[in-house]
């Protein structure tokens, strides 16, 4: 009796593996195709039947797609776009970590009038779609003369955002309050408790917030599309879209090479921070 259930379970396991393998192939294939095309000579991209492993690896496709002023692409300075994107990511991530840890500390570990109402309002704002806010925010930056600069894309990060405040607040509250009390009795200031007690324990949560904002800035398209005018200030996403709209449908090998270089850093980052990533995403859903 027990034996037959075991056998059934084993057969069942094989079936699950088979389904998972087929699905894995389907999910991985577009990525394989991306890199494969990126390495092909242009004639091979159109060859029938298509080849998955390029007959010869054209590593120079990456250089051709990226070097400023390569004759094949015209003047698409992807290297400059990469620098711009990285700059925005660094300024934004720094702002998000600094501002939200301060604000979340006030929400999680201090008592003040109006705290709970403002927190409820903060959560409620996560429902408001960006297109509702887009026009007045654009008008605001315009009145400061900041359209065409990077500032609208990173300055707001220094003033907190609902999602990060929520995530950090939840985490800060799990840190034992006795630790703060003990530090207070020892004559530690609130700033001292924040810096020396809470922040060191909150590193995993801060990493998640930093990671998410990096990803957000790296993939953001609507923001750069609205605020950036001069080609030299474009980000990778905007630059890639611009290039695609100018030369799309012909040089697929170079387009895929450029796309690969936009995708690769994110994948690499994921492999180094897998745990934080998966946990961070899981948290976003569970509290709903």
């Amino acid at each position: 009796m027990a034996r037959s259930t075991d056998q059934r379970r084993q057969r069942h396991q094989w079936l699950v593996h088979l389904v998972l393998l087929v699905l894995s192939a389907a999910f991985l294939f577009p990525l394989v195709w991306l890199v494969s095309t990126a390495l092909k000579p242009i004639e091979e991209t159109m060859r029938q039947p298509p080849t998955i492993i390029p007959s010869s690896f054209q590593w120079h496709n990456f250089r051709d797609a990226f070097v400023y002023g390569s004759d094949k692409l015209g003047y698409i300075p992807f290297l400059v776009y990469g620098r711009n994107t990285l700059l925005l990511c660094i300024l934004g991530v720094a702002g998000v970590v600094v501002s939200n840890s301060l604000v979340a500390y006030a929400f999680a570990r201090l008592k003040w009038p109006g705290r709970d109402i403002l927190f409820a309002a903060t959560l409620a704002t996560m429902m408001i779609p960006f297109p509702v806010l887009m026009v007045p925010i654009y008008g605001f930056w315009r009145s400061l003369g900041w359209i065409g600069t990077f500032k609208p894309l990173w300055v707001p990060a220094w003033f907190g955002n609902a999602f990060s405040i929520f995530l950090l607040r939840q985490f800060f509250r799990t840190i034992p309050f006795e630790l703060s009390e003990a530090a207070r009795i020892d004559g530690c200031s609130e700033w001292g408790i924040f810096r020396q007690v809470v922040l060191p324990l909150a590193k995993p949560a801060l990493a998640v917030v930093a990671l998410f904002h990096f990803m957000y800035t790296w993939r953001d398209f609507l923001g750069p599309l609205i605020y950036l005018m001069d080609q030299r200030t474009f980000t990778l996403s905007l630059g890639l879209q611009f290039y695609q709209s100018q030369h799309g449908g012909t040089q697929w090998h170079l387009l895929m090479a450029a796309s690969t270089i936009v995708v690769a850093p994110v994948i690499v980052l994921f492999f180094f921070t897998q745990r934080q990533f998966i946990q961070g995403i899981a948290v976003t859903g569970i509290k709903g």
């Binding site: 577009p30 705290r115 297109p131 707001p156 709209s245 569970i286 709903g288």
Partner: protein, 290 residues
Amino acid sequence: MRSQTRTALLFASPWFIGFSLFLAYPVVASLYYSMCDYSVLRPPVWVGMHNFRNLMKDEVFWISLKNTAIYAGMALPLGMATAIALALLLNTKVRGMTIYRTIFFLPSLVPTIPLAVLWLWVFNGEHGILNEVLRRVGLPAPNWLSDTAWSKPALALMALWGAGNAMVIYLAGLQDVPTEMYEAAELDGAGWWARTRNVTLPFLSPVILFNGIMGIIGTLQVFAEPYVMFPGGSPARSTYFYTMYLFDNAFIYHKMGYACAMGWIMFLIILVLTLVALRVSEKHVHYQGG
């Protein structure tokens, strides 16, 4: 205690500025602009409900709304079902679960624009790999990018590839299902499907509801993918979605007041759909210990 209030306000001060400047002010201002003729270049002029009345008569508005509804009707249920199915499969204590999880999750990391560019190539009518595969197995190979019947399914299919993100949320939710419940069900002779239907899905329902609502909000704002893949909502405006028309009104036609009115209608639609989802779920959502 007074000094703690002062310290707290100091800590929270970035958010006082952020909340007022980037949320409270824009909400109020956009409501005001939605009742104005406003082009950013000149000061707004009050026109009352004029923008809303015009929208009701605007054929393109209705086309974009209909396109968005049809697309959401395809992408949302399909995406949720796929994500739940993947999570359930991975939750069978199968060996190598973390590797499979990584594989399914990876595509959702691909940023929007390279995603759209890659799928333009995959969907390519002549040399696209998808049609090559379809032809090989004897299925029809549609013109994904230029046939009005296939442009929306193409976008929905592409969105499916990103189901890994929701899958991770469902998987986390599945860890909360108490194992005793499974064991009890198994002792009662319940098969896999019966256990899934009567134990797993009820426990997962709050997460499903959350993902559903976030999905509605996200799908109504779909913009960048069609913007890249189907310029101007081609073919024949079949992919001209709500947010694209809103964007064009704001930044191409400089009808900022009109765009704000569209934004508020979108917000109302989201509110109503969310309330409906909550109401419907009252019967079906099971909160633990609640």
